[in-house]
Point group: C2
Chain length 247, copies 2
DNA sequence: TAGTGGTCTAGACCACTCC
DNA sequence: GAGTGGTCTAGACCACTAA
C-alpha cells in the first residue's frame, strides 16, 4: 500500500482551484478581508496565485455557492455578512398591518450564570458543568408574544456580556457578540421539531395548554465550525410555515 | 419604454449556456433521454449546438446542481431518477429493530373521483371543480400507523389509475404514474407546518386527541415545472425531526 | 473611461472506466 | 486503447458600475 500522504503533500495533489479556494477562505476567516468589503479582483488573485482567471473563477464560484462571497457585476466580489436575525423569521409568517411586516421586539426575561447541562454541553462540544451564561428571551409583536428563546453561551468566551445592561442588548445579538467578545458567527445548524406546549411556556407565550409549538434548536458556529452558541426557540405552530424544494 | 421582447427574441438574448441548458432539459422532459441513461458526451453536445465545450460544461454544471443530471468521470453524464419514496421519510425517524430501518407498508383507505377544492386547484393551477382522483392512504410499520396521506391527481391525466386494483398499487407511486400515465415527477415543493390533530385523524393515526402532528404539503412537478400531484401528509410530531444548515 | 465581473473560445493534458 | 468527464490555460469581448 502507498504511504499516506502528509497534509502538505495532500495539499499539492488537490486541484488548483481547490487550493485557491482554501487560501481565499483563510483570508476571510483571519478577517484580513472583512465582511461587506470587496476582495481583490479576479485578475489580481490569478496573478498572485499564478493560475489562470478561469481557475480563480471556479474557486470563487464554490465560495459563492456556499454563501461565503457575493458577486456584483461591475462592482466586485464581496465577503458576505451572514444575518441570522432575519433567517429565523423566514420560518414564521407574522401578523402584518396593510401588508407591511412588523418588526419584533425583544424582552429579556432572565440572565444567569449556570453550569452546562448534558444536551447543551454536547452540542457546544464542551464538558458538562462548564460555566455558561443563560438567557431567556421573549420576542413580541404589538405586545403579542411570538417566540420564546433559551440561549446558552460559554462563560469563558462571552463573559463580557455580563458587564452590559440587558436592556441595552437590542434585537440583533450577533453583532453584539462581534463587538464585545470578538466572536463572529458564520453559519448555523438548525433542527426543527414540534411538541405540545408545556404549562409554563403556554403562560409565557399566551397559548392554550397543550397547543402545538414548533421547536427550533440552533447551534451557531464560527467560520472554522467551532460551536459558539446553543439556542432553543419555541413559537406557536399556527404561525409556522417552512418550505423545501426536493429534487 | 422598450417593447417587451417576444419569447423567441428573449431566448436569443439569453446567454448561450442558458440556451443549451434549456435544450438539454427539454430532451429530458420529452423523455428522449430517459432516467438512468447517459446523455451524449460533452464534445458531441458542443458540436451539435455549435458552442465550445466550456459552455456545454457550464450548462451541465447547472443541471447537476439542480439534481437533474449526474456526472461520472470516465463513464458519462446520466439523467437522474428522482426517488421521493425516501425523501419524505428523511424527515421522520422511525422505530428500528437492531439498528435496521423498517420499511413502511401502504394501505389505501379510500379512492374516489371528486371535484377539485379551492386550495388544491390553486396548487395544481387548474380551475376549481375540475374532476380529480383522490386517495386516502395510511403508511404503517409493524401495524403501527405513521403517516396519513391525502393525495389528489387531475382526472384527465391520471384516469388510467382507476383501472388498477388499489391493492396492486405497491409502495412506490411515482414509477406507477410513469408506467400507466406517461407522467414523470421530476421535483417537488414541500411546505412544513404543524397542528393539533383532528379527532378523525387521531383515530386513524392512533394518537391522543389534540396531540401535535406535522403537516407536509407537497406539490409534485414535471421537469418543466407543471404541477402534477397535490399531497398532504400528517404524522405524529414526536416522530419528526428536520435539519437545516444556515449561512 | 477605467475597472469589475459575465460569458465564451479552442484547445490541452490528466484520471478514470470499460473493453 | 478509445472514450468519458475533470482540470486548466490564456486569452477575447460584453455588460455593468462608478468616478
Amino acid at each position: 500500500m502507498a504511504p499516506r500522504p502528509s497534509a502538505q503533500e495532500l495539499d499539492k495533489r488537490l486541484p488548483r482551484y481547490h487550493q485557491v479556494r482554501e487560501m481565499l477562505s483563510a483570508e476571510i476567516a483571519a478577517r484580513r478581508w472583512k465582511p461587506e468589503e470587496a476582495i481583490p479582483s479576479e485578475t489580481e488573485i490569478a496573478s498572485v496565485h499564478q493560475v489562470s482567471i478561469g481557475t480563480v473563477r471556479k474557486a470563487i464560484d464554490s465560495l459563492v455557492a456556499h454563501g461565503v462571497l457575493e458577486r456584483f457585476q461591475g462592482k466586485g466580489t464581496f465577503v458576505r455578512r451572514p444575518d441570522f436575525g432575519s433567517s429565523f423569521f423566514r420560518f414564521f409568517r407574522f401578523a402584518t398591518v396593510g401588508g407591511v411586516a412588523r418588526v419584533p421586539v425583544s424582552r429579556i426575561l432572565k440572565r444567569e450564570v449556570t453550569p452546562l447541562t448534558n444536551v447543551v454541553a454536547a452540542a457546544l462540544k464542551l464538558a458538562v458543568g462548564t460555566p455558561a451564561i443563560r438567557f431567556s428571551r421573549l420576542r413580541l409583536i404589538d405586545d403579542r408574544p411570538l417566540v420564546l428563546e433559551d440561549i446558552w453561551l460559554p462563560h469563558a468566551r462571552f463573559k463580557a456580556l455580563l458587564a452590559i445592561d440587558p436592556r441595552e442588548f437590542g434585537d440583533l445579538w450577533y453583532p453584539l457578540y462581534e463587538e464585545n467578545c470578538g466572536v463572529m458567527v458564520a453559519s448555523a445548524q438548525e433542527t426543527l421539531s414540534a411538541e405540545a406546549v408545556s404549562a409554563k411556556n403556554a403562560r409565557r407565550l399566551k397559548l392554550e395548554a397543550g397547543e402545538p409549538v414548533i421547536v427550533i434548536e440552533r447551534v451557531a458556529m464560527s467560520a472554522d465550525r467551532q460551536p459558539l452558541e446553543w439556542r432553543q426557540s419555541r413559537g406557536a405552530a399556527s404561525e409556522f410555515r417552512y418550505q423545501v424544494e426536493i429534487r
